[in-house]
Symmetry: D3
Subunit: 216 residues, 6 copies
Amino acid sequence: MTLHVINPNSNETVTAGIDAAMDPLRGTGVEIACHTLSAGPRGIESQRNADSVILPLCARIAELEESASAFVIACFSDPGLFSARETTAKPVLGIMESGVLTALTLGHRYGIIAILPNSVQRHIRTLRGLGLTERLAGDRPLGLRVEELSNPDRTAARMAEVGRTLRDQDGADVLVMGCAGMARYREMLQTETGLPVVEPCQAAAGLAISRIKQGI
Amino acid sequence: MTLHVINPNSNETVTAGIDAAMDPLRGTGVEIACHTLSAGPRGIESQRNADSVILPLCARIAELEESASAFVIACFSDPGLFSARETTAKPVLGIMESGVLTALTLGHRYGIIAILPNSVQRHIRTLRGLGLTERLAGDRPLGLRVEELSNPDRTAARMAEVGRTLRDQDGADVLVMGCAGMARYREMLQTETGLPVVEPCQAAAGLAISRIKQGI
Amino acid sequence: MTLHVINPNSNETVTAGIDAAMDPLRGTGVEIACHTLSAGPRGIESQRNADSVILPLCARIAELEESASAFVIACFSDPGLFSARETTAKPVLGIMESGVLTALTLGHRYGIIAILPNSVQRHIRTLRGLGLTERLAGDRPLGLRVEELSNPDRTAARMAEVGRTLRDQDGADVLVMGCAGMARYREMLQTETGLPVVEPCQAAAGLAISRIKQGI
Amino acid sequence: MTLHVINPNSNETVTAGIDAAMDPLRGTGVEIACHTLSAGPRGIESQRNADSVILPLCARIAELEESASAFVIACFSDPGLFSARETTAKPVLGIMESGVLTALTLGHRYGIIAILPNSVQRHIRTLRGLGLTERLAGDRPLGLRVEELSNPDRTAARMAEVGRTLRDQDGADVLVMGCAGMARYREMLQTETGLPVVEPCQAAAGLAISRIKQGI
Amino acid sequence: MTLHVINPNSNETVTAGIDAAMDPLRGTGVEIACHTLSAGPRGIESQRNADSVILPLCARIAELEESASAFVIACFSDPGLFSARETTAKPVLGIMESGVLTALTLGHRYGIIAILPNSVQRHIRTLRGLGLTERLAGDRPLGLRVEELSNPDRTAARMAEVGRTLRDQDGADVLVMGCAGMARYREMLQTETGLPVVEPCQAAAGLAISRIKQGI
Amino acid sequence: MTLHVINPNSNETVTAGIDAAMDPLRGTGVEIACHTLSAGPRGIESQRNADSVILPLCARIAELEESASAFVIACFSDPGLFSARETTAKPVLGIMESGVLTALTLGHRYGIIAILPNSVQRHIRTLRGLGLTERLAGDRPLGLRVEELSNPDRTAARMAEVGRTLRDQDGADVLVMGCAGMARYREMLQTETGLPVVEPCQAAAGLAISRIKQGI
């Protein structure tokens, strides 16, 4: 039985980044497999992109159901989270939800580093729907397109800058990376800001393993 | 230029009910046309049903764009509301959002009459996302399937019963019908409960006309 | 039958501005007449000014009742809103309430442009009472007296400045004009900020027409 | 210098009841004088009644200003609280506000015993405006008119019944009397419910004395 | 390195129950050891009991620090959670916090089964402090003392009854056991209510393992 | 019978400052005595410091019980507030709770001047638990250690600076001193900021006297 982590965009590089991020979560007795949703868009940059993956995502979940101990939807908008939970009785975790729930055990007020400006309102609308905004310090965008993230120095510098703003202006004492596939910047971000940083795919896998072990 | 009201399920009877409900809103100088989304499910009874209509709904909006002064999404889950707003710059109103906003001008605490038990959490999650739950008295289901609504006496009796429970146990002083196409029960429901009742398709059309006239 | 819009201050120039703002809302089959409350103060600049108009406003509503399809109270403090609703069974809309409800369909977080600094707490206290602060980005004053608004260039420049601050510092993506009779600045404000701007008298008239047509 | 307690209705019997309730608060070095607002209605039973007293109340405050150390507005709707604070720089306390603030030091969740059903929404709207509803257990009416309160046995029995409902169904562990002039039932109500009961005129006088002594 | 689970009461039977509950969480590569705080009271039945364990608990954490990968405080009041986090830089999880965070991934509204009536307000005060009450359906007590829990049939029957009340009257769709050491009733409770049930010690151990693996 | 004000730290200078602050509250017929908790730490600078005083504080309350009319816990973290309320049936007031409740009668939004940066989250967690954050403008630290407060010029200058920031950036219109024993800076702070300033020991004594007089 396998914990299936599904990247709902079609970018294999992102999936590879997620897969590498899973390494520390391996060795708990739960197999972890990462999948790319080939029907997904190249990146999820709008509400419409997010909504477009729901049906293929649910179809993929149905295909993987028999071999699954749980599922993780590895996109920070948690697209299709409640449709997926209607599709399978196995645990389904979203990475935004899981990243935030984990952050709540690490600090008093969490800050989110989003990719694009228009992601912010999408995040907040969803977090409000989940009843999780009471301790939200802020959600600020990098202002880089998914493709631009290919320049690691530029990405790292901007990420550290946004992290410091969330800390100093918004009062965040824990950060959540608002995107899948950025695990490789976590160490840098912790060093630059002095704050704990949650990589949300890891947080979701951790919660999935926890629920698998508990049998709920 | 036309206000396009799109019923996202494929049930022509529902569309006919919506169209009849539009009559009082006609004659304001805004044309109103009602459409059935043929690609939609027979009824929207789950989150997955709701999510399944988003892409065809946006496609239909794109087709109608040129002739449109505004759009109404005539399903009480407001499926695809934010994707639709990315699809067109014309006003897009959801009937849940509009029904609730209108109810807030009519009473202190609003009650929603849902069709199915599992709709309730979907409504509340969305309303929380919209920041509109502060004055929610309650959301209670008829417990009838969309098909069962074909027996008007049974539907009316149950609707009045749920309305009275929302009034007496939950403290609602205004009711919102949690479904499109039930306008013909409004009068009865007002009489039986003594409360004002918002028919949400009318409320959305009213807000759409208001925004068209204001040019925003 | 007529929609009566009552300006609760005694300034005829303000009433003329409101009347001009009504033009786009005319032609819906609902007559709109604007009235000046001669017993009102020259401007409503304090809580006490606002409270002072309630009794004469209710008296005026009672006089107009027979010919009324609905009423709009055209002062952004919504003075006497709930007393007016006890005075008549016809719809009564406040322009603050209506401006904010309309803004909620246009953006994620609304910003209010107030006239005077001491208006801000009055607005927020009322909005909190209405349960509508969840998506309030900010409420910032022009810092100009009602009389000073007679210099249109100064008013326009300051209004654009406050609008940009609401957008950039507070995160507003829709603006509400926090005063009656400023409709002539709407276009300028939209251009200068790139955000949709709600003129609250128009919003209230639009909601009133919607409720008249719905018969609730 | 005197703490002036103003009963905004014209019922001298109510004022006498308030005056008797002041006795335990006397002897602190602060003189307490109770006044009847002769221009007020016989009882405050609607929003319109409440709004009607604001101007004469402010006029009375202005007359008493010179001799005042502070003011209490002795009507549970706190009519004119913010207008009164614009009228004088001396402390002005409302009895609803003060009753609730005091109750928050006595229990986890407070229940309010209102007189009339239509008072409930007026209370809640005001309390929401004050940001004090988080720990509100419930607000339930006696369903007796102010005049009917003249039958003490009937009033006492109904008051105890409502108190027990607030305790058992709503989870209140402290009660606030939602009317001035009912101090004589406090002992009975505490005995019948086993809960501490706040008489709001006393609570307001206590807070006023506290602020006078602190010089703020 | 070991995950130390500390039962802050001195009841070894409770610790044995917690230890048994840990079995499904073992085998992840993280050692789990359960400890009894001998200085603790026999049961934690009041705020004072809860506060009394904080210093000895922190002392025990300091003693175990060197061998620790993380800590769980196994009492549903989360006593000393923030003092413990000042005592060690290793992860410290409370079982209330963890039980609720896990429940939020399982349902829309969670219900808590407390032991004693006076625990309820202690729980809610703490959950409000954590910003986690938005989706709280209810918190209802068994009304049994910790000692009485020794009669398993009586405990089970009452627990099922309270669970059904939380489901039917309060709208809970997931339950959290509000006490350590009751894991053996979980299966029964799930069967009797048809709802998923979170055993909070398991939830906390799961979150602790997740954080250990993530290195945060 | 005496109102016992207990300083839970062992610093006699702080107790002397509290005692001096009590002078304006004397002469109400209630004796006020100030006590130093010799078992307490030199200053309360962390959650652990705060938690460490609870048991000795409750022991002291038990010793003083017979002579007590009420108690004030004179540390701004309100340590042991609910344990103390389990220890005695006499009124127990915390200075944070009382300072904030009093501030709510003085302005629309309150700002807190904390001593140390890490106090801020402790305050907010507690205030959230009390349901009193709706009108919190901000809580900002002096960034001075308790010992450093011995330089009055430096303290005064920094306090005025923080007060102005709370006023200008956070919108506070009333300030609460977030520490016991700073009453001598109140006048200066009011002058420098133009805002009313609540000294929380005085506010708590005032509320205690009010409750003693009311007999609740």
